[in-house]
């Protein structure tokens, strides 16, 4: 059962899987902004703005 929270940018509903681990990325379906899961506790989720995905040279 996903946990629903509000996008801090545009106020849209964001669904977070209830088994998400800290550090997983979720994005707002309306504005596309990406958040990182900080913690899930008692059916509530804390999000923070996601840091950029890393880059790696090569292959």
């Amino acid at each position: 059962m996903p946990i629903v929270t509000k996008c801090k940018e545009c106020g849209a509903d964001i669904e977070v899987p209830d088994d998400a681990l800290p550090g997983e990325i979720v994005s707002c379906p309306d504005c596309g902004i990406e958040y990182e899961v900080v913690k899930i506790e008692n059916g509530k989720v804390d999000l923070k703005l996601a840091e950029n995905v890393g880059e790696d040279w090569g292959e």
């Binding site: 681990l21 997983e24 950029n52 890393g54 880059e55 790696d56 090569g58 292959e59």
Partner: protein, 355 residues
Amino acid sequence: MNDPVKFLLDLINIYSPSQEERRASEFAYSYINGLKVGEVYIDEANNVVWNVSSGSPRIYLIGHIDTVPGMIKASFDGNEIYGRGSVDAKSALSALLHASLGLSGTGCGVTFAAVTDEERQSEGMKTLLKHVERPDFAVFGEPTGTDSVAIAYKGRLLVKKGYRSSSMHSSSPEVSNSAFDMMINDIESIKGRARSMNEEARSFFDMVTVQVVKCGCGSDSALNKTPSDAFMYVDVRFPPSFKSHEVESALFSGAYSVEDRLEGFSTHPESILARAFYRGIYDVLGKHGRFVKKLGTCDGNVLREYYDVPAVAYGPGDAKLSHTDNERVSVAEYLASINVIKESVSWLCANAKQS
């Protein structure tokens, strides 16, 4: 007998640069055949294809068995395995193979493939895609390090351009451009157009980059004449937000030929495949995984030409050691990566079935 370390050492010791993979493929075939799980065969491109189990969803685990040229024999000091391909990418290939063995009972359709020619023209991957069914997910064996998973690769255009002018005495004033001058002016224009495409870019991954990888002009027998002919190969890398045809029309004009074309691809961190690896890394290593975007290309780019399905790359080793004379991989990392792949794909199987 299932022995991941011995298998990897033996595989490294079979020299297998692109187009010379047959012996390595036969070795992998015999090893897999001895495991008595599923069905294995070698196809016309010398790919080794192992149908581990049938079911749904269908998941491909694909590594490449060729290496860059330059034999370096395998050695093992108790902690690290050295040798050509230990990083790129026989350890990742071997990790996928041994993880596959633990996935036969998941109820998913698991296919492992050791493909040829990745370091050249990806002929192995192109042949494989002609005779296997559409996957639902694909995992490619490339060195990302055990705690990182690659979720995006850039696309590539390789373009050849030629220039022709009249030849003059090299003492003459610069009244007209030589073929060399035309080439230099043109590459400056191409790079300028690429820069204007990068105004919004926030990272190297988001940039369109242009590099001349080969060029030539003039003649050794006429060092007092300006060149009448010149040529260059231009390697363009671009993010998945651009299609190759858009990049081509934005950068190139006049006469040219496209020698290679690969679209970029990305898999969202929220996709069930990326989440599976995030969890697998956490469960096995006890730390949070890292998503990375690669500036290069891999066989995943070829897959995405055929099928728009989620794909990631994963494997032990530091990509910066790829193609170097110092290729080496930690055995602890290598063995851990087998468990990460097994855990990740098992979770994917269970959860993709529910969704």
